[in-house]
Symmetry: C2
Subunit: 255 residues, 2 copies
DNA sequence: CATTAATCTTAACATAAGTTGTTGCCCTTC
DNA sequence: GAAGGGCAACAACTTATGTTAAGATTAATG
């Protein structure tokens, strides 16, 4: 089910001192942050970090964990069926938030580390912004709220992918989503990014079998839309990929 | 694409004077409401209502409409692909909320009436609770927040359905979800409820073709799991249906 | 450097689901 | 009460995707 190892690209931690970059970049794009708010974020990411190896469980299904920020590494929200089928509901990238401040419902998904991950305690962020009861003047509150809304947009994209797109289209769409999100976190060049996922993980995210994912990747390579080797993706024909994926740039990345 | 008519069951409005029942029941289950809050809800549902016929567009994709409450009738969040494929992302039942108070991102989905619907202006609710910046003492704020979180749970269920379940399982799962939600709104008996949807709408929700939905319904009838005629569903074997659907009662319906 | 274990790749085959076309029923409407 | 249109039902055939199984790479380990 789960890969025992992933691509080496996923094993590298961030250089020391820049831990806050993805979170800061992402939230900074969602709202204008005051200097005080920036330092709250920086502090949180420098504070004691929780480390988990690949395949580690960040929290179980049904838990209601305190909010955390993914500082480095990749993770996923996962749901299992009784017979072992697995669906990855969403990918979590550096700069993403996991868990919500109370009051919250028990999480319908487990969260799973796909690579080695570092997690920061995000409670100070929510406390500082008194989310979700923040004054409208707080840039941080607006950013946290926007991040939450954005996640919902991604979920709906995922529904459309799984419900109405072919394997080829699903893969194209996912790659474009990941590129855009990584770019927002400052982790992608325009046409190239690290993808530390096995084909099995891709299959579980796209609702396909591993064999069919492989077929689809091969085809996309033959069509010269992408290169994909050693955990690195290069997008060769962005426009074609976008039209295949029925891509609509989500305007919601900015405030 | 869209059905021109739906089952006659969907055409009936609520008896006058009980418009607020579904919304009130639902929110009341999510948190304890003060008398003042109850009257705010009741007032909103008695206020001037917006009426739309079946197939009417509640709001377009990309809009950022003011929050509304669905008082009666069924609606859906819908996304279209460029070539006309349609995916129903979520169903909206009486008592559900549509749109969010600002700040909000442009809606990634259009909202579409599936039957004749009545919509109430929900802004007073959010204003009264100063959502999402409400004091934790406000039951209304907690209820609105819980409704929002619950919608996200439903979205994730939908992802699992579309990604990893067979047609038969998807249908079972959806029927159980609808029964539970209708019950929470006071609109379902334990084993029987109105389902004013054409098979085409079911197909677009479950990511299947209309013909295959029909096959699946037939099979489920032959297996004596359900009856489905004239827009009425009767669940004959709830337990079997639940095990087919891999149903896990979402504990999150109460506060 | 040898060894093992993951992961990727490919082939052959099986099956769930899509497509097309036809029929019949039940509304509605004239 | 005849006609038309939407919807449900059913059959025949096609296609996308799943399954199983076997090599071929590649990365981790000692």
């Amino acid at each position: 089910m789960l890969p025992a190892r992933l691509h080496p690209a996923g094993h590298e931690g961030p250089p020391p001192g820049v831990e806050a970059q993805p979170l800061l970049r992402r939230l900074g794009r969602l709202a204008t942050l005051s200097a005080a708010e920036v330092s709250i974020i920086t502090e949180a990411c420098r504070g004691p970090l929780r480390e988990l190896p690949a395949r580690g469980e960040i929290h179980a299904e049904g838990a209601c964990p305190p909010p955390a920020a993914l500082v480095s590494g990749w993770a996923a929200r996962v749901r299992m069926l009784a017979d072992g089928r697995r669906q990855i509901v969403a990918f979590l990238l550096p700069g993403d938030l996991i868990g919500r401040p109370p009051p919250c419902l028990p999480a319908p998904c487990a969260a799973l580390a796909l690579t080695r991950v570092l997690l920061a305690d995000a409670q100070p962020l929510f406390a500082a912004s008194r989310f979700p009861q923040a004054p409208p003047t707080s840039g941080l509150a607006r950013a946290l709220r926007a991040a939450e809304l954005q996640e919902e947009v991604l979920l709906r994209d995922q529904v459309v992918r799984l419900g109405r797109q072919t394997a080829y289209e699903r893969l194209a769409s996912l790659l474009l989503e990941l590129r855009q999100r990584l770019e927002a976190a400052g982790l992608a060049e325009p046409n190239r990014f690290a993808l530390p996922l096995t084909q099995e993980v891709l299959a579980d995210a796209l609702g396909l079998s591993i064999v069919h994912i492989n077929r689809t990747v091969q085809q996309m390579r033959r069509d010269r839309l992408i290169e994909l080797r050693g955990g690195q993706v290069i997008i060769l024909q962005q426009e074609t990929l976008q039209s295949v994926a029925d891509w609509q740039d989500m305007a919601g990345l900015q405030d």
